[in-house]
C-alpha cells in the first residue's frame, strides 16, 4: 500500500483504540467484582442480560432491524440447555452447545420467515413467532409448563471446572460474556459490518450497488439469535432454572428497554443498560409492583430527554463513538 493511506484512513483506528481502552477497563472492573463483596449472583445475571442486549443491538443498532421477539432465543436456548443437563445428564459445555445450536436453528427458521419484511412488519412477525413459541413451550411436556425446569445441576465443566462454586461460576460466565462481546465487536468492525451499516443507512442504494441485502440481514439475524441463545444457556447455570418468563413477550420488551436506556447502536450501551435495569429490579424489589411503573417512567424520560441513551449521550459529548 502507498504511504499516503496511513494518514488518510477514516477515523476508525482512533475510535477503535478508544473502544479497546474502555473494553479493557470494563474487563478489569468485572474481574475484580468477587473481591468487592458485591452480590455475584446479581452481576452474573446482569452479564447474561448484557450479552443478550448486545446481541439484540447488533441487529437493530447496526442492521436497522427491530426484533420484538428476541426473548424466544433466550428462552429456547435456556430450555434446551436445562433439559439436556437435567434429563440427559450431559456435561455443562455440551449443554451450552445444545442450547446455542437450538437458538441458531431457530434463528435460521425465523429469519427466513421475517427478513423479507420491512420496519413494523418485521417487528410484528418476530413478535408473532415468539408468541407462537411461548404457547408451544406452555403446552410441551418437557418444559413442565408453568413450573418450568427446576433444580438444574451445574456440574463440572470440561470435567474439572466446578460450576457449583459461585466464584468459579462467576469467572466462567464472565469469560462467556467477554467472548460473546468480542465476537459482536469484531462483527461490527468487519467487512460484513461495513455492508450491514450501509444497508441500515440506505438500503435501496446498497441494492443498487449490487448487494443482495436480504442475505446480509439473514446472516445478521442468525448471528444475533445465536448469541442471544448463548446468553440464555449461560443464564441456566446462574438461575438453575428455565421458565416461561424468559420466553414471554415482556422479556422481549425488556431487552428493547435495556438497549434504549444504554444507547442504541453504541458498543457499550447495551451493557450499561442491562446493568441499570437489572439493578433496578434487584434493589427496588421492595417497591413490589411499582418497579414496573418506575421502569416505565425511566423509559419515557429516556425517550424524551436523552434519546441517544446513557452511553450514546456520553459519546456524543466527547465526540467519540463508544
Amino acid at each position: 500500500m502507498s504511504a499516503m493511506t496511513d494518514d488518510t484512513l477514516p477515523a476508525s483506528p482512533r475510535t477503535l483504540r478508544d473502544e479497546m481502552i474502555v473494553f479493557a477497563a470494563m474487563a478489569v472492573l468485572l474481574a475484580i467484582v468477587p473481591a468487592t463483596g458485591i452480590y455475584p449472583f446479581f452481576v452474573m445475571q446482569a452479564l447474561c442480560f448484557a450479552l443478550l442486549a448486545c446481541a439484540f443491538n447488533l441487529l437493530i443498532g447496526f442492521g436497522g432491524l427491530l426484533s420484538f421477539g428476541h426473548a424466544m432465543f433466550l428462552g429456547t436456548a435456556g430450555y434446551f440447555t436445562a433439559h439436556a443437563l437435567k434429563e440427559w445428564g450431559v456435561s455443562p459445555e455440551i449443554g451450552i452447545v445444545i442450547g446455542t445450536a437450538g437458538a441458531a436453528a431457530l434463528g435460521l427458521i425465523t429469519s427466513y420467515v421475517s427478513i423479507r419484511r420491512q420496519g413494523i412488519y418485521f417487528s410484528m412477525i418476530t413478535l408473532a413467532l415468539s408468541q407462537l413459541l411461548y404457547f408451544i413451550y406452555l403446552q410441551a411436556p418437557f418444559t413442565h409448563g408453568e413450573d418450568g425446569i427446576q433444580g438444574i445441576p451445574q456440574g463440572m465443566m470440561f470435567g474439572f471446572i466446578n460450576l457449583s462454586n459461585p466464584t468459579v461460576l462467576y469467572y466462567v460466565v464472565l469469560a462467556g460474556f467477554l467472548g460473546g462481546f468480542l465476537l459482536i465487536f469484531r462483527t461490527i468492525n468487519s467487512p460484513f459490518g461495513e455492508v450491514l451499516k450501509a444497508i441500515r443507512e440506505n438500503e435501496p442504494r446498497a441494492i443498487s450497488l449490487g448487494y443482495k441485502t436480504d442475505q446480509y440481514k439473514l446472516l445478521a439475524f442468525i448471528l444475533s439469535g445465536t448469541l442471544a441463545g448463548f446468553a440464555g444457556s449461560l443464564k441456566v447455570f446462574v438461575a438453575q432454572n428455565a421458565s416461561l418468563t424468559d420466553v414471554h413477550w415482556s422479556m422481549s420488551g425488556e431487552i428493547v428497554l435495556m438497549t434504549l436506556v444504554g444507547g442504541l447502536g453504541t458498543i457499550f450501551g447495551p451493557v450499561v443498560g442491562a446493568f441499570v435495569i437489572i439493578a433496578m429490579q434487584q434493589y427496588l424489589a421492595g417497591f413490589g409492583q411499582w418497579v414496573t411503573v418506575i421502569q416505565g417512567v425511566i423509559f419515557v424520560a429516556c425517550v424524551l430527554t436523552f434519546r441517544r441513551g446513557i452511553v450514546g449521550e456520553i459519546g456524543h459529548y466527547f465526540r467519540r463513538s463508544l
Partner: protein
Amino acid sequence: MGEVCLADEFILETHGLTKEFAGFFAVRDVSLKVRRGSIHALIGPNGAGKTTCFNLLTKFLQPTAGQILYKGHDITAMKPADVARLGLVRSFQISAVFPHLTALENVRVALQRQHGHSFDFWRSKSVLDRFNSKALELLNDVGLSEFAKTPAVEMPYGRKRALEIATTLALDPEMMLLDEPMAGMGHEDIDKIAALIKRISAKYTILMVEHNLSVVANLSDIITVLTRGQVLAEGNYAELTKDERVKEAYLGAGHA
C-alpha cells in the same frame, strides 16, 4: 458503422415497456434504444412517467408488459442487485449516500462488493484498507479528496451528488442511469456536475432523467420526450426545439 449486431450498437433496448398501476398507465408501450457510449436524456413534463420508466429499467419496479434487453440479454425478470452486478448502475433522485459513513467509506463499500470478503464477520475491517488508495483516487477524480474523512451527512448537497457518482464509478459500470442528477442544486454545482458527467461519458454510456433543459441541451447526444407515459418524440436538441408537439407538451397549446 453499419448494423452488424444490434447488441453491439445499442447497449440498452426496451420493447413495448408498460407499467400499469390499477388501471392507470404510468408508462405505456415505450420502446427505447440507447446507443453505446452516448448520453441519452429522458425528458418530459411532470407526471410523464420518466421516473417510473427509470425504475423499470433498473428493476426497482416490475413492468406489466414488455421487454428490457441489456447488451442483448433479456433482463426483464431479473432482480435489481443482479442488474447492478451486470454493470447497469443507477443513481437516485434524492442523493443516495450512506450518511454516517465517511466519503472514503462510501466509495469503499462499493469497491468491497466486487472483491469479496463481504460476508466475513470474523475478519477485521482493516482488510478493507487495501481499497483505500483506489477509493482516494476515485474521490480525487470528482474533486472530493479533501472530504475523504468527512461523514457524508456533513457534506454540502452538490458534493454529495459528486460522491454518489464516485461511488457508482467504483463499481466500474458499463452504463449509468442518473435520476435527475441536478435536482435541487445551485448554478455553481450544476456546472461542476455537468462537467463531471461530460467527462465520464467518454468511458460510459449514460441515460439520465433531467428537468433542467439547458443541462440537457449541453450534454445529451439524443433526447427522448415522454408525455403521459408514451414516447412523444426523439432526436437531438436542435431537432426537438423545432418540434411543435414538444413545444405544446411543455408550454400548452395556447402558447405554441
